[in-house]
């Protein structure tokens, strides 16, 4: 297996830290936002945007680019922070325009407005089907791009996601990767209390996917896994990343009240200070 240098890991951790701080900065100056899921996805997004995805900020519509769909579109703020950091648009634009009237940037995402956004998202359970379509197009055109779809727990409660899971295996889409940001918490509490998803690994396996569970906050494990794709030939890959909702801000961690929350000035300052101190 390919090694990842310690310098690279530090670099990606720093990018994740930047994404988290940007999320807190952007959301705390508006009428609130999806802190919890944005923070849980930050390490995964860092690995994707700064190491894994074949993309070109100067050419966002490059036909041979890897695609990335954020099916849990309510954390678009974290993805936009990554896109800005990667150079698709200035961070200042994102910070000042977020949620403003007529802005490209807001709670959910519009592919026609945001440079580097491959699919409109906001309603759960949609992203994986679109990913299947993109992966089919890639196979048809004999292109080697890959399609990454990040879904949240709640996407897996939507029946349509399982339609897409069935189809991806049937069409042998080994160019399709589903990353599950498994932070275990939805709007109303823990998924396993609300409507359990477990046992998730056998579910994916029974649907004929290759599955790997990882610690979604261990950068080395994330990168090594995403560099060893597909997990099996002729099969779609599911990477179940165990994460912590609100990761990095102690008073937000594992607290469903921060799925969508409004941060006071003091809370925002405390959150930013804690993130600054973190590794």
């Amino acid at each position: 297996m390919e090694k990842v240098s310690p310098e690279k890991i530090e670099f990606l951790k720093a990018k994740a830290k930047k994404i988290r701080k940007d999320v807190v900065e952007i959301l705390s100056q508006t009428s609130g936002g999806h802190f919890g899921g944005a923070l849980s996805a930050a390490d995964l997004l860092s690995a994707l945007y700064f190491e894994i995805l074949r993309i070109d900020p100067q050419n966002p519509c490059w036909p041979d680019r890897d695609r990335f769909i954020l099916s849990k579109g309510h954390v678009s703020v974290a993805k936009c922070a990554a896109l800005a950091e990667a150079g698709f648009f200035p961070y200042e634009e994102l910070l000042t325009q977020y949620n403003k009237l007529g802005s490209p940037y807001g709670m959910h995402e519009d592919m026609t407005k945001i440079k580097g956004c491959d699919m409109t998202a906001g309603s759960l359970g949609h992203g994986l089907s679109a990913g299947v379509g993109m992966a089919l197009a890639g196979k048809h055109d004999r292109k080697d791009y890959r399609v990454f779809v990040m879904i949240g727990d709640a996407d897996l409660q939507e029946g349509s996601t399982w339609e897409a899971i069935m189809a991806a295996a049937h069409f042998k889409l080994d160019n399709l990767i589903c990353i599950v940001d498994r932070n275990q918490i939805g709007v109303d509490g823990f998924t396993e209390e609300l409507m359990p998803l477990e046992p998730l690994v056998p579910k994916f396996r029974d649907f004929r996917w290759e599955v790997k569970e990882i610690d979604g906050h261990n950068m080395e494990e994330i990168v090594l896994t995403l560099k060893s794709l597909p997990l099996a030939p002729e099969k779609p890959s599911a990477v179940i990343a165990h994460t912590i909702k609100g990761k990095g801000v102690s008073f937000m961690e594992n607290n469903h009240h921060w799925h969508f929350g409004v941060a006071t000035k003091e809370q925002a300052e405390a959150a930013l200070a804690e993130l600054e101190r973190s590794n």
Binding site: M111, M119, S123, H140, S160
Partner: protein
């Protein structure tokens, strides 16, 4: 004896032709390859054909994904499933980003009579016309269907083609339908006393109604609205202004359907008496198709009767 033809067969033939001319055209279905007669497409272009099983939400989501990669997917399922089961995919994944997906909706209206309300669609026009970026085509017969498929393939953006399942009387002679210009209604018969505005298979019935009215000395204009959205406002206003009365005819709930759309334009631009022929606000039960059409008043006689009501209303209004 009037000539009949199957709109589905015409659809499949046209799709095969445009599919042969443009490699970007893909064909997807949710386990309805045989009813749509698209097996030949699947054999001729197997790498551009996907059957996703009975999963309409996935069908439209996959189509959206393909369209982002420059493909032109034609998706196939029954209209009630396409517009209601996967309504959100249709709206959010396809129309919101204005992706170039073509939706072929069979079993529109109550055409699949014995299917009952699960397989009827008396709501789709209402749903589809309220979704921005949508283009909604409703060809009059099998001949015009071919032009509708070509127009859909030419047009860039979400396009829905609404049609029935069974052979229906021809309005046009084979090969004689004019090239379909989206958003431009076609006047099939000039008339000066009243205008009959019809869509889909009600166009043929409107022509028959015009014959009935002619025998009573009434000169009825008949206009084919092959496009329901965008609606040809200019032709509606012209008809209202020149004939002073309008009857609409559609195989759909009269609430929020084609007639309601026409009424909006008439009310805003040139108020004249208007009657809507269509399905009253009800589920229709089941039965053989033609018997269903008679039961629910989707007939030439009913259109003619509505025209007489408009003429009476106008006469009474002018006296008072």
């Amino acid at each position: 004896m009037e000539k009949m033809a199957n709109p589905v067969q015409a659809y499949a033939q046209a799709l095969l032709e445009v599919g042969g001319e443009d490699e970007r055209i893909f064909c997807l279905t949710a386990d309805l390859m045989h009813p749509f007669m698209i097996e030949e497409f699947s054999l001729k272009f197997p790498d551009r054909f996907f059957n996703v099983g009975v999963a309409e939400q996935n069908l439209l989501g996959i189509a959206a994904g393909l369209a982002t990669c420059g493909k032109i997917p034609f998706v196939h399922t029954y209209t009630p499933f396409m517009t209601m089961r996967s309504c959100e995919q249709l709206r959010t994944d396809i129309c919101y980003p204005c992706l170039n997906v073509k939706m072929a909706g069979m079993c529109s209206g109550i055409n699949m009579g014995v299917g009952g309300a699960t397989h009827h669609s008396v709501e789709d026009i209402a749903i589809l016309r309220a979704i921005p970026n949508m283009t909604l085509l409703s060809p009059a017969d099998a001949v015009e269907m071919k032009e509708a498929v070509r127009a859909a393939a030419r047009h860039v953006g979400p396009t829905f083609i609404r049609f029935g399942r069974y052979p229906a009387p021809l309005v046009y002679e084979e090969g004689k339908a004019p090239s379909l210009e989206i958003g431009k209604a076609v006047c099939l018969r000039e008339g000066s006393h009243i205008s009959l505005l019809a869509t889909g298979l009600m166009v043929h019935r409107a022509l028959a109604a015009a014959d009935l009215l002619a025998s009573e000395g009434v000169s009825a204009r008949v206009i084919n609205f092959h496009t329901i959205k965008p609606l040809d406002r200019e032709t509606i206003v012209k008809a209202a202004r020149e004939t002073g009365g309008i009857v609409t005819a559609e195989e759909h709930n009269i609430l929020a359907g084609f007639g309601a759309a026409v009424a909006e334009v008439v009310t805003e631009e040139c108020p004249v008496p208007l009657r809507r022929v269509g399905i009253p606000d009800t589920f229709c039960g089941l039965g053989p198709t033609e018997e269903m059409y008679r039961k629910w008043g989707l007939t030439a006689e009913k259109i003619a009767e509505a025209a007489r009501q408009v003429l009476d209303f106008r006469a009474r209004s002018s006296r008072s």
